[in-house]
């Protein structure tokens, strides 16, 4: 499978370095390695969800409990989580570190992913969610650390878009 194992490991290592100990996830192709690594890590609580919005509640519970968490989802999972983000994370000032695979953008071959790609950034902006990109291995660690720092200091959701350039080996 041409999903980059090497770059998935870099992302995972960066999450661990931030102290992330709970990951909620709903599988998607680009996330397979990350989920498998988390599953094999006894220090990580991996929660496989039925729908991504549950992850907002999971992360809120973890935050109340003093445990740092992150959410792994596809951009369509972000779309499915919007009410939870607005009426829980925003309303109650809950930090969320959302790692969102940016499907449906340049290079996308799957027709069914393309509409989600069109609206992802516009919706992040509409919701005032600060976001950046994970697009090169050299900057992954720094961006994840910065995103996590901002989520914790601002007590709000922050998004990192995982791009094809980082996740996919052509």
């Amino acid at each position: 499978m041409p999903v980059s194992l090497e770059n998935s490991k870099i992302i995972y290592t960066a999450l661990k370095a931030c102290g992330i100990r709970l990951l909620s996830a709903l599988p998607e192709t680009w996330l397979v390695h990350l989920i498998q690594i988390a599953e094999g890590d006894p220090e990580m609580t991996l929660v496989r969800l039925a729908k991504e919005e549950e992850g907002v509640g999971l992360s809120a519970g973890a935050h109340f409990a003093g445990v740092k968490s992150a959410m792994l989802m596809q951009n369509h999972g972000y779309l499915a989580s919007i009410n939870g983000i607005v009426s829980f994370a925003h309303l109650y000032k809950v930090p969320l570190l959302m790692l969102i695979t940016y499907r449906g953008s340049f290079g996308e071959r799957d027709p069914w992913q393309t509409q989600g790609g069109n609206v992802t950034e516009a919706l992040l902006r509409a919701m005032n969610i600060p976001y950046s990109f994970l697009d090169a291995p050299a900057s992954v660690e720094r961006r994840i650390r910065q995103a996590h720092t901002l989520a914790e200091s601002s007590l709000q959701p922050v998004a990192l878009l995982l791009t094809r350039d980082l996740m996919w080996v052509e």
Binding site: T45, V47, G57, A65, G66, F88, L91, Y92
Partner: protein, 192 residues
């Protein structure tokens, strides 16, 4: 059976639990019995009270967590039952007040009024122990046993579709949220 009588019957058992409620009548009635810093009222985000309880229960395995859910909220996120069943936290009690209606928006009937059985759905999702109670005595016994015992349990309490006159209280949402987190931090400090 009235929800407020159910809550009153087990109120003293909640003292050492972390409690998460849904919005509307459940939150207001529990507050009217006496707010406590270990109570968190999720005043929106319908469906996510049980997910919040799961996060708490997984992160604080020695702490009993009680979620007071409702039929309308749970029906918005039935997938949560499969997630709860997958991880089966031993320290989570999931109480669902089923009044067969969306009471706070005018009492419109939910699907439990036309035969959808939340206990049955929970069992089929893999929740190990699920029961339905119809009297305050049954409710008190089942919930008390679940709080004092061990293992994920769901209790569906069939209650009347009546609630308080108003739903807004003088407890700010953020005040509640920060107080709840500080309470948990104080527990952690005590155990060290």
């Amino acid at each position: 059976m009235l929800r407020t009588d159910c809550l009153r019957s087990i109120y003293s058992e909640l003292e050492k639990c972390l409690v998460v409620t849904i919005m509307g009548a459940v939150a207001t009635e529990l507050q009217s019995l006496g707010h406590s810093p270990n109570f968190f009222y999720l005043q929106h985000a319908m469906g996510l009270a049980s997910s919040t309880g799961l996060g708490l229960a997984l992160c604080l395995p020695r702490q009993k967590v009680v979620v007071f859910d409702g039929d309308g909220s749970l029906l918005m996120n039935l997938g949560t039952l499969s997630t709860l069943a997958r991880y089966k936290p031993k320290n989570l009690v999931h109480v669902v007040f089923d009044n067969e209606s969306l009471l706070s928006v005018g009492g419109f009937p939910t699907a439990t009024s036309t035969g959808s059985d939340l206990e049955g759905i929970a069992r089929a999702a893999g929740i190990p122990r699920a029961s339905t109670v119809r009297t305050v005595e049954e409710f008190k016994a089942a919930t008390r046993q679940a709080i004092l015992g061990d293992g994920l349990q769901m209790i569906v309490a069939k209650v009347e579709p009546v609630g308080p006159e108003a739903f807004v209280t003088d407890l700010g949402l953020l005040e509640n949220r920060f107080q709840f987190r500080r309470y948990i931090q104080s527990l952690a400090a005590k155990s060290h």
